[in-house]
Symmetry: C7
């Protein structure tokens, strides 16, 4: 414990075993956030999330876990809510600028890389903490794409993935149940089931299905 | 205790369990401030507060808990008084700039997001402490809206909510007594009752009722 | 004691119970300064102070506790003398700029808010300590006004108030003896009596009476 | 252990025995990354890597260990993935700028020096940590070249080299099996065998063969 | 002792009892410097000092304790010699600028306030230590004036005052022996006697007598 | 050991016995680097070095210990390899700029002073560590010159000198064997023998002979 | 010892007894440097120094202790060699600028003050250490002048003075043997004898004699 404390203060630096503790602690913040699941089908990517309102008087719609970024791009977030909003703002601005500059929609992997570059900077430059948020970027331009951005600024492309509280259970479910060639409806059904594996059966569910035609948010 | 101290000094960084202690301590400052309650009705949002003068020689009117931001926007604050005044200044300037730029009044959720972005920055950038204040933003443009901004920079939209000293009791009261379709008068009555649940029966009460026609401050 | 030390160094940050220790220590500096009392009458605000020369060879006139800011504005200070002088400089410059800009005298509450904004910044931005001074701002434009600015940057409007060494005794005296509708002469008498409650009977006394006609300094 | 802690915090400074601990810890991060091997033949340099997907649902193609930088330049990375992406971005931008400025392709050793200069700065200037990534730069302009850049910013030119988890075993294998005058195909075979020495027999393998004609990525 | 250490490092901050330790330590530096005495007469202010050469080979004239600032202004210093020279430089530059701007000589109290503002800044802004020097500013424009500036940036006007090593003894002597209406010659005699009370009988003495006609340095 | 730690962190400051520990630790880094020897003859300066490849697969040519700076200028380095490369870059740029400005080649002592000024800055300004490298600057313009630059930024001109691992043995050898009036060939032979005294008999040797005609690198 | 450590780190701040430890430690560095002696005669100032080569292979001429600054100005240094070179650079640049601006040579005391102002800044501003060097500035314009600048930035004018290793013995010798009215030759003889008192009889000696006609360096 003593040893760990030495690497927590002030800036993000390496521990003797080559770890960045502040990044690992930020991952803890992600693991405590309400879960989000992504599943890639043949023509669509589906995100599903279980917003955690915390009180019956909260407007559940205002607990945004899934965010429209552009016609064909959505982002799901897990972890520190205020950090997530900031990254989603950056995502929207980036996607809009790219569209204007190149006169075509921004691919999901390019958006994920741009966000990850920003996230990485916060782990290397002094005087700031890492983001306590991980993202699932879902997009469909030529083909459907699902990319994770983690608090270290690393990216991974997934067929299906889960983040947040209960994510290991959801991920186990996905590894068992996922198969290639899913329709949009099947992808949504799988995402919902995996979300239940993480959050139990009794929770509000928010979904978005991203196809080449656009991002369609499901009813709760 | 030793362990906690390690995360309190200098900058806002993550603890091993993914928490931001400085933000949690700022929430303590909010929980010790005089209470404020917000209730959303069908055509109006009502804020009620119990200013804490501390001495019979203080001009109670000068202990501002509820602040007019624009014709249709008001903000209630709980926590560190000087921080609150600064955030209200930013709220007024932001609302005015938006009105000039877009030639229409700023919606309450947009104002809450702008304030929350500013609050979040203070939790991520080094060399500054978080704000020790939480806000209830009340506005009525197309429809009445009540949004909370907390010291982490997170936002939540509420049907009814309480902040500050005694807030848990007031929130319990609201969860029991709230029902949809409240008139402005009923919303004010509910807000006053919830405030009493937090602050007892013997305290000055300040209210503001925000409708599409404007923000009307109640007598004390 | 160990615990407290953790929150004293370097910057002004929150303690686990939501306090800002550096601000509280600055209040200690205020509580050790020579006392100042303010009383608001019907047409005038009176400040009274007991300058502490410390040696018979000091020119008592040079121990300024009460400061003329504009024709209709005066400021009394308690605490760290050099910090007080700096805030009085800012007060004079602010009042003059406002008068030039708006072509009318600055109200006392507006001046207090401007000073408090500056004081608050020193409690939130790193690399600087708070001001070790509290102020009583006295002004009479449309009506007499008495506003306190404390080291946190909070403001409160008072009918009568005391700051500095012995302030609790003076405040008790004021709460007993104050009544509405005081003439300027009665307000001065009350201020002098309250000052004696704080500083004893044997001390030099400095007064200023601020009416719509101007700020008149009393003889010592 | 106590002694070591003293040199880990804040900035990269010397220990009494002339070591830079933060740089050595960054090397630990390199040693834990998935392995990469480089072999220089007569007309080609071959890089081989074993991407570590970590889950069957990850798109292995998205775990980039080998990166095309220009027609005749490729980079293999080991260590912190987000740091690696940033250095590869800098590599691509640098190679492109040089090509535009000098109207000829950038040699591999010049690119390695440019990257190493950037990496060295992060070990000398305060307020930032070193890069947790080492690189193998492979290029063929006049002749095939293989250069390592390590987290200290040092460069070494190799006939054959391995980085990352299992690198000592792979390096032993290379020292035994390497001989001069390898064809491109033989170089690739040796690189694959050395990679197996590091990562075992059961892993995906990614290769790139860099000749004067360009960089050809092998199938996995 | 442990407790005190906590407030000594890095920046000038408040202790729990409202003190600024770095300022108090700077006063210690003043108390160890060679003494300086000031006495105000009816038409003149006299400063007297006992320069401490430390070696018979030092040119005593080069140990400046009393400094001409303008025709009618002189400054005596006690404490850290290099800090004193810097403040005297600032005094000369300030007095010259004021004379040019207002076309009349700068009063001693205005100069003292300008210097004190600069000294105060060093006690509030991070990254710098306070000045280890106190000043006696002596001037005669309309009437003779003697003002002290201490390391906190506070000012006090004196009829007669002593600073530096032995100052309490000199001050006691002055309180006994001072009387109103002193001629320039009597003021100098009193200043010399008070200096002897601080420094003993065997020391070089430097004096300056500041009248409306100018500053006349005495022989040693 | 405790005592020493106090002077190692953050910035380069003095220890109670007037030492700069960070500079001494940087000298340790120099003492662990592969050795370099310099010998000045009548018409030439010779540098000899034993590059430490560390593996048979390293291209020894890429382990640069001796660097051409200009036609008549070479630099040998010992210590931290990446720091050395940076200083050599600065040397080349400085020599080129001087040649352009003054239209004549830069003397070796002028180059050494320019480099030493840069090295000294890193020992006095906060937020950076010293260079972990020492240099031997060899040049022949009017006459042959050999100058050492150490990590403190001090310079010394030598007839013959050794740096790096085994330097004390090489220096002893030089003090015994050096004599005035050496030809270029004799200087090289002496440099090689001294290098063997430091590094043993079995090591690659790199030499450069700097005469007025240019810098000639020897075969290994 | 514990207590002292508290004032050594980071910046130059006061200790409870009003001392600046970093400045005192810098004086230790001066006391360990090779000695330098200055003697003022009727028409000349003479500096003498014992350069410490440390090895028979060092070119003693390159160990500069005495430096020509202008025709009539020389500087002797003791302490940290690289810091000394930097201050001498500043001295030369300052003297040249003054000569160009005022079209007459700069007096030695003015140069000493300019250097001392620069040295003082390093003791008051954070983020830098003091200079580990003291200077003897020798100049002859109207009359010969010898001024010391110490690491605190204080200046003293001397008839004769010694700095560096053995300085107390040299100073004792000077206090015994110095007499007024020395010719240039007698001043040099005295300086040489005092240097022997500090450094023994067996050392190289470097001298410079500064008269109105210029600075003449003696043979070694």
């Amino acid at each position: 414990m003593e040893n760990q404390q030495a690497y927590d203060r002030g800036t993000t630096i390496f521990s003797p075993d080559g770890r960045l503790y502040q990044v690992e602690y930020a991952r803890e913040a992600v693991g405590q956030g309400a879960p989000v699941v992504g599943v890639r089908g043949d023509d669509a990517v589906v995100l599903a999330a279980a917003p955690d309102a915390g009180s019956p008087l909260v407007e559940t719609d205002s607990i945004e876990k899934l965010h429209r970024v552009d016609d064909h791009l959505a982002v799901g977030t897990a972890g520190h809510a205020a950090d997530a909003r900031r990254l989603v703002d950056i995502a929207r601005q980036t996607a809009q600028e790219e569209r204007v500059r190149y006169e075509e929609p921004m691919p999901a992997d390019a958006l994920a890389t741009a966000l990850a570059d920003h996230v990485q900077e916060r782990t290397q430059t002094g005087g700031a903490r890492p983001y306590g948020t991980a993202l699932l970027v879902a997009g469909t331009t030529e083909y459907p794409t699902l990319v994770e951005v983690d608090p270290s600024g690393a990216t991974r492309e997934w067929r299906a993935s889960a983040l947040g509280d209960g994510a290991p259970d959801a991920q186990d479910y996905l590894e068992d149940a996922y198969r290639a060639g899913l329709s949009a409806a099947d992808a949504e059904a799988l995402a919902r089931d995996a979300l239940d594996a993480a959050a139990g059966d009794d929770h509000p569910t928010e979904t978005v299905t991203v196809t080449a035609s656009g991002a369609a948010f499901g009813e709760r």
